[in-house]
Amino acid sequence: MSSVAQMIETIENQMDAETPADAANPEHLRMVEALLFAASEPLDKKALSTSLPEGADIGGLLKSLEEVYQKRGVNLCCVAGKYQFRTASDLAFLLRKEQPEQKRLSKAAIETLAIIAYHQPVTRAEMEDIRGVAMSKGTIDMLMEIGWIKIRGRKRTPGRPVTYGTTEAFLVQFGLESVAHLPGTDELKAAGFLEAVPPSGFDVPNPTEGLTSDEDPYDPNEPAEPDLLTGSANLDEA
């Protein structure tokens, strides 16, 4: 018997020996492993639990599995609050594929995507304020088409402009557990750059996926032409 096989046996013996509270049920672990391996899409805890025996400790199993695979060629990742096996990122060189990328993103599109990601929910006027230029409609349309951003609601301000946010596909693509896990969020927040106005000691907004207090859910049937209305509202104010 090879050394590896011996080790496996050691693991199994230890697992059997341990109290159920301490160790994950090895049969359940095999099941979660099989389900996640087989799936083409990330699975959430609910989806896993419907396939597992009742009472299985999904959270504990996922944690164990994550540890088992931590240093392997394949890792268990949490993306968009769901779980998926992915090849280890340090092996990218081995697997990297030159993708026929959905049109190379322009600098404007990349910036816009970042602004939407970090500032969501964000209106077009707010994006324009940050970038200091008028947005071309094509940029937003393109990001919508790729499926990385979506209209999430309307701001409760005059004109009721629509607000944009990122999608689950965005989180999956960039390997993020949630928008709160965007790189550098804390620094940006600390510097006050995620606020809509210069630092003034007001509340610090987080990028949030749920509706914020000044945001209404988006109703596509709402008659308003948001941009036009925003415009006219501004005129009124002036």
Binding site: A38, F85, A114, Y118, P198
Partner: protein
């Protein structure tokens, strides 16, 4: 992608270093982008940048562009005007400020903050695009095993359906017909009278009897029966004083009217 994005940022900055900058005005994404590039050229932390110096650089840039007859977009000129105003206020001794108007320092701080924010968001964009991306750097299972959906078919058919099918089928094959309520051949006089009584209020003037027949009683025999029964009902009602009848000649059209409204005679009379 991340590297490419970074390269683009760098390219803009490098261009800004020499005189080619002037020709590249189209390469800037608006006045704020241009200001940020100029600010970077001061080679100090943007937080500590001299806004006065920056304003001068910007105005110089616009002047050179004008000399080269480059067409400048309106927003560059608006920014130039604003910076000229800011510059004059920064140079002049503190004068009295109109109510609610920000001081020159506040305006400078605000501009500095906006440049910092744009810079920070660009850095964040670069970092975001530098992440390991699915299907480019990291990969999911290449040959996933899909979940097989097995349809558990159940049938709703009951014994009732089975017996109905059998009875219908057998009877049909035996030349029988399924039961259908037989349409009565004769309109009962009572039925005709009931009908007329319901219509009474609506017969305003002399109306032809043939127009009072029930519409659904069509076809040779049925129509004759309807005519006969309705006429008999009319006669009964005339006897009771509820209707008046009029016929101008034998076999001519018979006219009916409500006895309670009777004040004149038919025009033919």
């Amino acid at each position: 992608m991340s590297e490419a994005a970074f390269d683009e940022f760098e390219a803009t900055a490098i261009v800004a270093d020499d005189q080619a900058l002037l020709i590249q005005v189209d390469g800037f994404e608006g006045p704020l982008d241009l200001l940020l590039t100029l600010a970077r050229n001061q080679k100090v932390d943007i937080a500590k940048i001299s806004i006065l110096k920056l304003a001068e650089q910007y105005l110089e840039f616009i002047e050179s562009a004008k000399k080269l007859n480059l067409e400048l977009a309106a927003d560059y000129l608006v920014m130039a005007a604003w910076l000229a105003y800011l510059k004059s206020r920064l140079i002049l001794p503190q004068e009295k400020i109109a109510d609610g108007e920000p001081s020159a320092d506040e305006m400078a701080t605000r501009l500095r903050w906006r440049l910092q924010r744009l810079d920070a968001m660009r850095a964040a964009a670069t970092r975001l695009m530098g992440r390991e991306r699915l299907d480019r750097d990291v990969f999911g299972r290449g040959d996933p095993e899909p979940v097989n959906v097995v349809k558990l078919r159940t049938y709703k058919d009951t014994l009732y359906d089975l017996l109905t099918a059998y009875a219908t089928e057998r009877v049909r094959k035996m030349g029988g017909t399924t039961y259908r309520p037989v349409q009565p051949l004769v309109l009962q006089i009572e039925e005709a009278r009931e009908r007329l009584e319901r219509m009474l209020g609506r017969i305003s003037d002399w109306s032809a009897l043939t127009r009072l027949l029930p519409l659904e009683w069509q076809g040779e025999g049925r129509r004759r029966s309807a005519m006969a029964s309705t006429l008999l009902a009319c006669l009964e009602m005339a006897r009771d004083g509820k209707l008046q009848l009029q016929q101008t000649a034998p076999f001519a059209e018979i006219f009916v009217r409500d006895a309670h409204r009777a004040t004149d005679v038919p025009s033919e009379a």
